[in-house]
Amino acid sequence: MIYAEHLRKEFKKTVKEPGLKGSFKALFKPKKEIVVAASDISFHVPKGEILGFIGPNGAGKSTVIKMLTGILTPTSGQCRINGKIPQNDRKKYVKEIGAVFGQRTQLWWDLPLQETYNVLKEIYEVDDEKFKKRMAFLNEVLELEKFIKSPVRTLSLGQRMRADIAASMLHSPKVLFLDEPTIGLDVVVKDNIRQAIMKINKEEQTTVILTTHDISDIELLCDRIVMIDKGKNVYDGSLQKLRENFGQTRELVFETDNSANLTEELFRKGLKLDECDLVFENKKNNYKIRFNSAKIPVGEMLSYTLSLTKVKDISVKDADIEEIIRNLYRQGGASDE
């Protein structure tokens, strides 16, 4: 369905040296620099799948989404969606996709919401009967009736997002791109939106590519995740597998009195663990240690810690998925599978 092969995108950027002198210099001779937003991204999404496309800020997620939707032309590499190359056959291609960019809206700002749908109906050449059916379906899934007559500028963020998703679904696209569809929304609204996405995916076999910073979005919606960082793939696989691979991680949290002076060195040397098996954090007397329980059993870890110092409070937790992903970001990579 969706193939991305070695996508790369470079941008030119003007750099200015600091200070007044730099300003004068920039006035007459601006300096250019090439920034690589995506250096080598490849993945494949089969029909009907919901793919979570994640990565830290500035990883190049939006750049990739924009290449897939045909907004940006890749510097090299290519993508094919449904056999079409977005940039080559733009008009036909965009009829098959829908896109929502959470940070901006495609609705007509000053007019009642219904007007936007009427215009989009013509733009996408949806015939009357289909339009009626479609509106009924979207109404049911996204609950638009309450605000469909209000001007868009008066909608709340959650309503606006639902309206935007409906706008991108009006022409029954085969692929839906959602760039941070839950950004800035409260928990209840987030849940609403997730339900809607799931329903659309189930009922219409719509392929969905979703970027988000919210881990619950991924846990609840995605069959698979592709994680990128600094413009490169760092993980591609199911959430399940990620949990299995990194699920051995445990987190030890404890508090000591003032006399203790524990260092990372002490733990690593004492237990003979290397960097990826032990991560050490401390703030004053509070310590947080993440360790690989396959290398060192929890009991051993506990008794070692207790042998070093007196602790006030101690607990061991399973690392949650958010933690695992944070770890992956920090280490800048994990092998595929």
Binding site: N57, T69, T73, I97, E115, I123
Partner: protein, 263 residues
């Protein structure tokens, strides 16, 4: 074609609906342009209190040239004003994304989206001056001259549009090209007066390079003399067609260089 018309009217209607919400603004714009025009005319008036003729043209004739030059300008202003926004901020802010994910031509979409009622100021003054000045301007009126001139007016407007397309498309490479549009568009000042007052290099420049002379003076010259339709009218059509094709090529090239905004 039918679909294009339908979408155009639909989008224009949205725009009018929006304007109705801000009636005061709509008036401000139209009145502003009207006053701007009035001042331009006052200027000509003051000059002619001192001299009987300017470069061989009488006061009514100069007014006629001035008035005719405002009609293509106003038409273009009415229909394609959104191109300014492309140059100034639509591309820079990344708002151009939306035009690229719709199954219609982005250039058409951008243009159809605004219907700039402010332009009524220019159109009223243009038409008003023509009516006022025509009786005394010793025009060469015949079915032919009038018909050809009427045909030529939309082409003259297209010269404005093409120049705006070209210059606004530069924003795809340099992010914000408002200043270039401003610069090139500003040269329409040259179209208000007979080109014979300019020195030869300037005359060549406004005829063949930034061909604003075709949007006013040559068109009027045909109505004033009835001579040389091949250059005065044919020139408008040829120049604007060539310019339009070039501008669309630049625009399309620009779209593939578009960098959006944000990460």
């Amino acid at each position: 074609m039918k679909r294009i018309l339908k979408i155009y009217t639909l989008l224009a209607a949205q725009n009018l609906k929006r304007l109705m919400e801000y009636r005061a603004d709509f008036l401000t714009g139209a009145v502003s342009f009207l006053i701007d025009q009035a001042i331009g005319i006052a200027f000509i008036f003051i000059i002619f209190t001192q001299i009987p003729q300017l470069a061989g043209f009488t006061f009514p004739q100069i007014l006629f040239i001035y008035g005719l030059s405002q009609i293509p300008k106003g038409l273009d202003h009415l229909l394609t004003d959104n191109l300014w926004c492309v140059g100034y901020f639509i591309v820079r802010k990344g708002d151009f994304d939306k035009y690229l994910i719709r199954p219609i031509n982005p250039l058409f979409h951008v243009i159809a989206e605004t219907f700039q009622v402010d332009a009524i100021g220019e159109l009223i003054v243009g038409i008003g001056l023509l009516i006022y000045a025509a009786p005394d301007a010793e025009l060469h009126l015949s079915v032919w001259t009038v018909l050809l001139s009427v045909i030529a007016v939309p082409f003259a407007a297209m010269i404005y549009t093409s120049l705006k397309i070209m210059t606004s498309a530069l924003a795809f490479w340099i992010k914000s090209s408002g200043f270039i549009i401003q610069m090139v568009y500003g040269m329409n000042e040259f179209s208000k007066y007979p080109t014979t007052i300019y020195s030869l290099p300037v005359r060549i420049f406004v005829t063949y390079i930034i061909p604003f002379a075709f949007t006013g003076y040559y068109l009027s010259l045909y109505l004033l003399t009835g001579e040389n339709p091949l250059f005065n009218i044919g020139g408008v059509i040829l120049v604007s067609s060539v310019l339009f094709v070039i501008s669309v090529l630049i625009w399309n090239k620009g779209i593939s260089a578009y960098e959006s905004a944000g990460a």
